[in-house]
Symmetry: C2
């Protein structure tokens, strides 16, 4: 009988953050693709688009006019999934099958820059620092609203990720409850701290820095790596080296280290398939419920959909929906491909 | 303060099958859509396509020739995510962060009919019965392989769901371990049985049949409904009325009742946006590990991506990936829209 070869044989890997498994099929990367191809938005965008509802000075869907902003600009989402209104409600505790609870929250949009065509990898580091300061301010402001216990900062980039406007922007959904994925993560981080007296992600990062098999970028303050249990082909996670529970704990040096690694990682992403690389990204950190939350460690997830090229994505469908997530390339190979990308954006090299 | 109105106010609903919540934003269905539009594969397909690797008599990627089959036809997946080979492996029990285990399995493709253009809603009921008999045979055959403990039957329909060939077909992935979603479901079904001495889905179905708010179709043996906790805009679930743990428990009448409801449900789906409605569907039932599994109740999930039209889908992206699933229309409204669709396929009405 052959011995298990993690680089060749189908296997499952365990994700200790959410206590779930992923199926890895290394050999399957070779299968031919005859399915759907994604559209690539090629051609360059203008710096200002008179029809864009995020550009400075333009009118939004609700009739408001954007200021002529020069840095990051934040406004309330005009079509928010959450509402701020307090709603009277009595819970029926006996109900097993029809449990529902009103949910209060605030949704905001964060324009990254006034320039319609300036994505993260092409921004100067100072511009990204400015976004980080904006995230800090929003985390503090929204987190201090009495009924807000969680602030989810995220970005959907690219039309394939449901983004309806190419003007670089992210979103913030702040709400009363811990969302499902955050609650799962918190439970596992907490159980680990209770059991081991140390932080799960701090301990994990130490091991990864020894092994060096999945590290994409490292600087004095942050590491970008492909997690051992990554689901998406080029999924990465940025982790702070110091034990920080939230973005407002950053020193000035850490802000600049985080801005630098964000720029470098997104440059490598763009270079991989020479395209403006789509993804959803999001920050996981301590809730804003007033507790200390030592179990948390600041980290940011990147979930990009592309698998083989700018037009062929991974579909998380049938088996993945009914069974479990499945990937066709090992995290180690993905990390190697990403690591080997140039630090110069491909557009500046043409 | 206004009282909670489940039809208007943002709220969260609880899914007792997987112990997770979903965010419901009823008011958000009104937001305009400026994002990506899906391609619609219009025009009619031929009954036989010489280039299709699933049509009878054609050569597949691995050089094998399909027989000139007349009913459902099953073969081993040429690019399987799982392999049958037994692999030697010693578990390192101390490892928290780098847990990996080889996984054995068998992947098969089930062609639903020799006709390249005959989807479920357009097939005669006898044709669908034949597919059900095939699923029964595969569940038995694969389930009796010593190292197979779970048989996942599913279908990816439409290129938007990663399906690379329009020839109507489904897949079966059979494997040693219980996949993540199945294990979660089993744990919750088991906990409910232990606590209440009855079956979760049987009890749920009874309540739904009383309320009649989310029922789409009902016949003597099966019910198709939009679950109270549905994630996808037009998600449905087919549940057997009798307590059946697996597909091989069906009587002949139940096979025909299941075939009928499958045909009716997929006709309503096609009629909703007058398109060949894409979805991933899959059967959840007892594992094949030799235990009795009274906690299980046979059911089938349908997860269709479309939201507003044949070209506008729901994106489960940033917030949904980092936080929790979110929907823009209530399950009650979706059930009503589906229920009100004609039982005649729109193509036969043109
Ligand atoms: O095997 P297929 O049909 O080519 O592949 C499709 O279904 C599989 C199972 O859901 C997925 O893993 C793939 O991403 C999808 O493209
Ligand atoms: O609010 P947007 O950007 O229009 O919408 C996008 O992001 C949201 C949050 O991830 C999703 O719920 C939507 O499905 C997606 O299209």
């Amino acid at each position: 009988m052959r011995n298990f070869d993690i680089n060749e044989d189908p296997h499952r890997r365990y994700n200790p953050l959410i206590n779930e498994w992923v199926l890895v099929s290394p050999h399957r990367a070779k299968r031919p693709w005859q399915g759907q191809n994604e559209k690539v938005t090629s051609g360059s965008l203008p710096e200002y688009d008179p029809k864009c509802y995020l550009c400075p000075g333009n009118v939004r869907a609700n009739g408001e006019v954007n200021p002529s902003y020069e840095n990051a600009f934040v406004f309330e989402n005009d079509f928010a999934a959450l509402k701020q209104e307090e709603i009277a409600f009595e819970e029926n505790k006996k109900d097993t099958f029809f449990k529902a609870k009103p949910e209060r929250g605030i949704s905001r949009v964060v324009c990254f820059s006034p320039k319609h065509n300036l994505t993260l990898p092409e921004m100067p580091v100072e511009g990204i620092e400015n976004i980080i300061y904006t995230w800090q301010k929003e985390y503090t402001d929204l987190g201090s609203v009495d009924y807000i216990n969680h602030v989810q900062i995220f970005e959907n980039k690219g039309s394939v990720m449901g983004c309806s406007n190419p003007h670089p922007h992210g979103q913030i959904w702040a709400q009363s409850s811990l969302p499902t994925e955050v609650a799962k993560t918190q439970n596992n981080l907490k159980a680990y701290l209770d059991k081991n007296g140390s932080n799960l992600l701090q301990d994990y990062l130490k091991e990864e820095l020894k092994l060096k098999e999945r590290i994409v970028i490292e600087n004095d303050h942050f590491v970008a790596l492909v997690p051992f249990w990554a689901i998406w082909p080029y999924e990465t996670m940025i982790i702070s080296k110091r034990h920080l529970t939230k973005i407002t704990d950053f020193t000035e040096d850490e802000v600049s280290g985080f801005a630098t690694i964000l720029k470098q990682l997104t440059i490598k992403y763009d270079n991989l398939f020479e395209t403006s690389f789509p993804y959803s990204s999001g920050i996981h950190q301590a809730p804003t419920d007033g507790e200390e939350h030592l179990e948390w460690q600041f980290h940011m997830h990147f979930y990009p959909p592309l698998l083989r090229s700018a037009t062929v994505k991974k579909f998380m469908v049938g088996y993945e929906m009914m069974g479990e997530s499945q990937r066709d390339i090992t995290p180690e190979k993905s990390a190697e491909f990403l690591k080997n990308q140039s630090e110069l954006h491909y557009k500046t090299r043409l």
